[in-house]
Symmetry: C2
Subunit: 237 residues, 2 copies
Amino acid sequence: MPSAQQREIEEPLLVTAKQQQADLSALLIAIRTSSIGNLNSLHSRGSVLFAEGEQPRGIYILRTGRATVSISSSEGRVVMLGIAHAGTVLGLNSVLRNCTYDTTVKAVDSCLTDFIPRAEFIELMQQSHAGAQVILKLLSQELTELTDRAKLLLLPRTVSGRLAKLLLEWSKDNASHLSGTMRLDRVLTHEEIAQMICSSRETVTRLLANLSSQQVIRITSESILICDRPALERLAC
Amino acid sequence: MPSAQQREIEEPLLVTAKQQQADLSALLIAIRTSSIGNLNSLHSRGSVLFAEGEQPRGIYILRTGRATVSISSSEGRVVMLGIAHAGTVLGLNSVLRNCTYDTTVKAVDSCLTDFIPRAEFIELMQQSHAGAQVILKLLSQELTELTDRAKLLLLPRTVSGRLAKLLLEWSKDNASHLSGTMRLDRVLTHEEIAQMICSSRETVTRLLANLSSQQVIRITSESILICDRPALERLAC
DNA sequence: AGCTCAACGTGACGGATGTCACATCAAAAC
DNA sequence: GTTTTGATGTGACATCCGTCACGTTGAGCT
């Protein structure tokens, strides 16, 4: 499992950024939407952008691909708190507070990222009101997403409830409507789904098989179709 | 269970605040530390400051007393995400995003609070860079605390692990050292402790009794003493 | 004192689910 | 083609712990 941490190509950003101190907001938006990819780092599938406990080098902005955000115990238990997609800013809070990263971020696909080292980031934030507003909005969104995730993980008393909620949440994001059903690309393995709902791989396999046999979902090799959404909502309680 | 929501005495704050638009930071700090209590509302034990799903009227700043922050499912299951103490700002993120409160806050003791209505708060934040920085810091802290709580609740596989972690966390806050042991004032009932660690009242009773019989803790009528901290750390894994 | 009510204690029971073990299967590697 | 490897299925089993039921304690009130 390669753990490439490429952060040597950051100088161009620093220069560019210093020229734009008046508006970090514009910078962030530019970085996140620009197709001029001279600041990119490439992370291959499975590589770790940063790990819980490491010093906060800087923030990463996901350009393409997906990455999992997880926490883990010393015994090896892993719980995924979310999936980052293009545009997500990673490591923000740890960099702001200058404490070690509190989550681990791992590439699911191949990922392109932009990197902003901590010192530059802090300086820019303090000098731009608009920049602070943008960061505030990002933090606010992170907090909302974590709260929602807490509700998904902590409120249902059974694993099937959490799984149902997860499928419903995914069906909102991946809005590939198809004659009343929803198609979810299978981007995660059963093992990873288990980590998303605090369960074990075997239980996920069994529950998915149950839902499939009850015609609630239909499983193909590369996607999951949601056939009976009301049934899922009943399970989610 | 009384549900008094007192928010009629907010006009004095509005006037004061508008006179200080230049620096929301100073205002917030002044409100949080000032002993001139002309903006206070009183909430009696058990009363709800605001509930999940209500419109975001404004933020509350806790002056005295303690309050529980919780989420709940439609079936009545309640999970406490934290305990707010003096100085804590409540409802911040919901007010920022102008979406319904995502948690319920209930007074444990009698509580004094200050209230800042949403419209004024937003306006002030947008006009003061220093104010935005303060709010940013508050959001950042909230995010850190919620992440830590997620680690406490999601990583241990057993209830005893979560209980041990909870006791250790409390022992850090309430630093009443006493000849090698830590004393924790019993502010919560077993039922509420259960809600803090996603368990049931009976299980909490049993586990506390077990720890007591193993000399790890000592239970009196108004406090819990931690005698064998290493044992708790082993349980917390 | 007697009453009431909330909090606490305790036993019995059953179900959900984590864990172990092994089989199958597909795609990639050689 | 053969091997390897990671992902998925499936059965057996033990156990944690939620739930139900009921008893006990203690503080506050009339």
